[in-house]
């Protein structure tokens, strides 16, 4: 579904990604793990066009992503739930969801998808008229994921969904990710919470200072001594 081949990217003179090649197949949950500053967030920003790649190719179902404007990427079926959730704090929950359905192809299905996400996350329905900024951290993550679903994506990019949340809420957020997987969405998730994310992913890549160091099934990575020592503290 998503193919990256030898992708470079950076911020000015600072290069953050070096020759990244990876694949996400339809129906998979793929995790990218790595330390803080390894380039995980940059990788997602490059895929969704927020940061231009400087070399390499990226395709989504054959569509070359580097050749389309950043705001068109969502129309290829990629929805990005950004780091820190980034809801519009002074818009209601429902208006946040409406912005998620901004693209013309999604507007016609707004009512249908709103019913779907409210069904998936009943808590959001209860809070539909509340300002998004007043939601709890876990509810905000729920709203950010729901907002991404409103565009009718095939692939969902999740950037550190557990960031800044209390441990008990983190478990709930990983449960949310399991639930959207069960709905048939393909997921590419980056996380520092390696132990948890390897439990919900099918495959995983290890990113170290901008380079992919390792790739394999989630079980293989979870069993690797290097990863257990460096990232799981075992």
């Amino acid at each position: 579904m998503l193919e990256l081949s030898n992708v470079d990217a950076g911020y000015g003179a600072f290069q953050a990604l070096f020759g990244v090649s990876m694949t996400v197949n339809a129906g998979e949950a793929v995790a990218v793990i790595g330390a803080n500053g390894a380039g995980k967030t940059t990788l997602l920003r490059v895929i969704s066009g927020l940061l231009p790649a400087t070399a390499g190719t990226m395709t989504m179902e054959g569509v070359p992503l580097r050749e389309i404007a950043p705001h068109k990427v969502i129309s290829t079926g990629i929805a990005h739930v950004p780091e820190g959730r980034r809801l519009f704090p002074r818009l209601s929950v429902e208006n946040n969801l409406k912005i998620g359905a901004f693209i013309p192809a999604a507007r016609d299905k707004f009512a249908e998808r709103l019913a779907f996400v409210y069904d998936l996350f009943p808590r959001l329905k209860e809070r539909s008229h509340q300002l998004a900024g007043t939601l709890s951290g876990g509810e905000q993550q729920m709203c950010a994921i729901a907002r991404a679903l409103m565009s009718g994506p095939k692939l969902i990019l999740l950037d550190e969904p557990s960031m800044g949340l209390a441990p008990v809420i983190v478990a709930q957020v990983f449960d949310l990710v399991r639930r959207i997987r069960a709905q048939g969405y393909t997921v590419l998730i980056v996380e520092q919470n390696v132990r948890q994310v390897l439990k919900i992913a099918d495959r995983a890549y290890l990113l170290e200072v901008g380079r992919l160091k390792m790739g394999g099934t989630a079980q293989e990575l979870a069993a690797s001594d290097e990863i257990r020592r460096a990232y799981m503290g075992i």
């Binding site: 927020l50 950043p70 705001h71 969502i74 980034r86 519009f88 002074r90 208006n95």
Partner: protein, 289 residues
């Protein structure tokens, strides 16, 4: 000084209310532009001036007033888009002072061009609506119509920002610019639509103002500082704050002008503004809405 709680005091208060509608409309356009694009159109009142001339000449050329007014709205909406595309877009990422200076430059260009094209004499569209008299008070219909249309336009804009996709995107972009592409929103298009609305509001204000005021190239200087003061008092970019501030300032002008002398009305309003800004630099309702 002659300030008693009599019928003339009430008349001043009500006239202040009517003036507030117009000033709130003017402030709304400027606040919308600032809140969304993060740029101050210093030349906002000059766009209104150009609109007034456009409506004046359209009417003089035979167009009925309503058609001339519509021409003015469309003309200044287009002017807003042109201003954004050719002047604002190149300096979007520049320092605020550069943005102020380029729109300030447009102010002088428009004033000079209007003076060259239309001369310095005062022009009047020549439509007299008469006035409504009740008890010993008199209110010109031009002011009453202005108030009603301004309030109506603000309600329409509010509904647009609440209900339509592009309206919600306009509010969202003021809250988080960077992630708008992730929503499929083309920031450049939202800015252009916002500039057209901001310009359209200036055009509408021009259509209302030609009913009350003479037209001359420097009329922007009479209203520009007042509009900025209202916007800053309400919290620059805060549309609701600007609305409330317009009523406060209008009452200072109307009641102050009636109690002392008309000239003092503006001075008192500015003194009040200065006191507020010393105490609350972010304005009465600080921050963006």
């Amino acid at each position: 000084m002659d300030c008693q709680l009599d019928i003339f005091f009430l008349e001043a208060v009500l006239n202040g209310l009517l003036l507030a509608g117009l000033l709130a409309l003017l402030a709304l356009g400027l606040n919308l532009i600032f809140g969304v694009i993060d740029v101050v159109w210093i030349c906002y009142a000059e766009l209104v001036m150009v609109g007034m001339y456009g409506i004046f000449y359209a009417h003089k050329g035979g167009a009925p007033f309503l058609l001339a007014a519509a021409v003015g709205v469309v003309l200044i909406a287009l002017a807003g888009m042109v201003l954004h595309h050719f002047v604002i877009r190149p300096v979007l990422d520049s320092a605020p002072i550069n943005q102020l200076l380029v729109t300030g430059g447009v102010l002088f260009v428009l004033q000079a061009a209007a003076t060259m094209a239309f001369g310095i004499e005062f022009r009047n569209i020549g439509i007299r609506l008469g006035s409504y008299n009740v008890l010993d008070m008199s209110f010109s219909y031009a002011r009453i119509v202005t108030f009603a249309v301004a309030i109506g336009a603000m309600v329409l804009l509010w509904a647009f920002l609440q209900r339509t996709y592009i309206g919600i995107a306009i509010r969202a972009i003021a809250q988080d610019r960077q992630i708008m592409p992730l929503m499929g929103v083309d920031q450049r298009r939202v800015y252009l639509v916002t500039s057209a609305i901001g310009g359209g509001l200036a055009g509408l204000a021009a259509a209302l103002m030609v009913l009350q005021f003479d037209i001359y190239p420097q009329i922007g200087l009479q209203f520009g500082p007042l509009i900025f003061m209202i916007c800053v008092l309400g919290g620059l970019g805060n549309m609701i704050g600007g609305f409330v501030a317009a009523f406060i300032i209008s009452e200072f002008i109307a009641v102050g002008g009636s109690c002392f002398a008309t000239e003092w009305g503006y001075a008192i309003a500015f003194l009040f503004f200065m006191m507020v800004i010393f105490i609350r630099p972010q304005g009465l309702f600080g921050g963006k809405s």
